[in-house]
Amino acid sequence: MEIKDVRPLALVKDGETVKIVNIAAGCGLNSRLRAMGLWPGVEIVVVNNRNSGAFVVKVKESKIVLGRGIANKIMVS
């Protein structure tokens, strides 16, 4: 994994598949994201990053809406 490929999730375009590298969120939010299946190492597909509002990703079989704020805190490659 090359370091230069690491970027915030918010910059990923529709339809791309990426791998989570790091989540820089607080303890509580971290545990919630984990329980929903988002933690370093998993592959996610960006479903909807078209509008300026929330952001939709697909992890395994579930679709999850993330606010812009979180999408900036999740680093992917």
């Binding site: 971290n30 545990s31 994201l33 984990r34 078209r50 929330a54 579930s62 679709k63 809406v65």
Partner: protein
Amino acid sequence: MKKITVALAGNPNSGKTTVFNMLTGARQHVANYPGVTVEQKEGFRRYDGYEIRFIDLPGTYSLDAYSIEELVARDFIIDEHPDVVVDVVDSSNIERNLYLATQLIEMDVPLVLAFNMSDIARLNGLVFDIDEMSELLEAEIVLTVGSKGRGGNELLAAILRTAEKEKTKRSHKISYGREINEKVAELSGLIEQIDNKAIEKYHPDWLAIKLLERDKQIAEKIKDDTVKQKADESIKEIKAILGDELEVLMADRRYGFISGACQETIKKTVEFRHSFSDTIDSVLTNQVLGLPIFLFLMFVVFQITFAIGSYPMGWLESFFDWLCKVTINYWPGDNMLWLRSLLVEGVIRGVGGVVMFLPNILLLFASIAILEATGYMARAAFIMDRVMHKIGLHGKSFIPMIIGFGCSVPAIMATRILENRRNRFTTIMVIPLMSCGAKFAIYALLIPAFFPLKWQGTMLWLIYVVGIIIAIICVKILRLTVFKGETTPFVMELPPYRMPTFKALGLYTWQRGWMYLKKAGTIILLMSIILWFAKTYPKPAQESLQGLNAQQVHEIKLSSSVVGRIGKTIEPAIKPLGFDWKIGTALVGSVAAKELFITQLSIVYAVDSDAEQSHNLRYRLRETYTEHRPLMGFCIMLFCLISSPCVATVVMTKQETGSWGWAMFQFFGLTILAYIVTLIVYQVGILFVG
């Protein structure tokens, strides 16, 4: 007969409620968990010599105690020691759903897994090796389809087998890797030595795991400092050795365990296709079409509620008219005429005026239930996020607001899904602006009385939209002043689209409708009687009534009563809004419960115990207000929409915000706002209509 308690746990959208309905039938009732306002559903079932009590725990993704729901679910399992815990798993999304199961396994509870929605899993090409998986997870597994009632008996049998089984310690729980396993064992041993009290309720291994995960709630329960110190040291050591946060590593192991178990036991026979849900989503959450579709759907909901609901409403209305006539005609002579008047004008008209709207309320709740059960509600929150974000809330706040269209009380309870206090309080403050079922009843009465037929549907839609717009403005102001600060992160699942079952819809609608009826039978009945006395006494002097016609007599009697006096007192204040004192009295009455606005109007307008002249209320309103009728009607609705929330809402706001201050802020703030807005609308409107 042996009695056992079974708790149902599971992720949101795993179909837990349909499984609960399948297991218990209609034998269930809704209550609150003691101390908090999370709803607890309880149901009973007799099976094979057992009386089984089922508890439907709130839907959670984990038992980490991040939200109140998670805490409630966890505390129930720990404190009540259910004989069996059933984890309802969405088997078409197995890996994520099993995360909760791993936490239940760690707690070492007697566990049965219901692999629900197994029909969808099969359609997606998943084949499970149940025996193998059951061995790995050390729990019985049953395939179910809750929505079609399949697998219920098998699940009951598995529950009983698990309850009867001698409790044995699980052999190979999830392994966290050598280093962490050692720390868990050390800490667990230490807890067992020192803290005898804690391990009465909790498994020492589980306590150790939670301490290592820095669970605040558990840390508070451990009184001993040596244990805490040891836990802190262990966390540091692990970080030094493995270079990562301990809770991240543990989650990693849990998912590792799950994915290992799944790889061994699940075969995928079909490759993943573009799913049905994705296709629908590409339209419904489309950047351009999403918002118009949402607004259109709302419009349809209100049209249906009004158009279809008007037929049964008419029948109920005729029924109560008939009941009044019968009571008057068959009254024995001239005895106790006051009692006849109390029965007819107070009880039948008062309660009947509210019960009449039951069909509309049922239709409205059914519509909300359909939106919720199909999965559209989460999309609506997503679509609205763009708008909501601009005013400083996120899309999730929209869900309690939509529930607010049914009733403010559950809506305020539903704000618990918002983790941030500022977001939550802001949402609570504006929820009364979402026109609830009771306000709907007011609109349903006033719209046909004040507007021509072709405007009626549009007017109803308009008043709802006005409420939403005012709410948006209020939020913006609140977020810039009282609740200033950052918004919290927004995370929400978009569940797959599903066909709701009639049983689930029916039960939900019935439970809400029953609450409405209960309110009509208790508080509204009581208030109707009180209001009747208030409008009847004190009576005017007999001589002042001589030589007047019936209408004039009624007017004089009313204005000398308590109600009339209050109305007259506030008349100067409400005159600039276009309201007379009769409407004023109805507004005063509506503070106790919004429905009482109708009750009060019915009582005020009924001509004293004279069957010939007791026309229906709408007719009387039309007869009374001839000038600027649409403008007046709109102003009354506007004032009812914005002004003081009902007593139940005030109490709920107090409970959820923890202070009377916020409840009063909401109560007076909204009332003052209502006054200002209505004043402007009426005064500007009058310029145009002359």
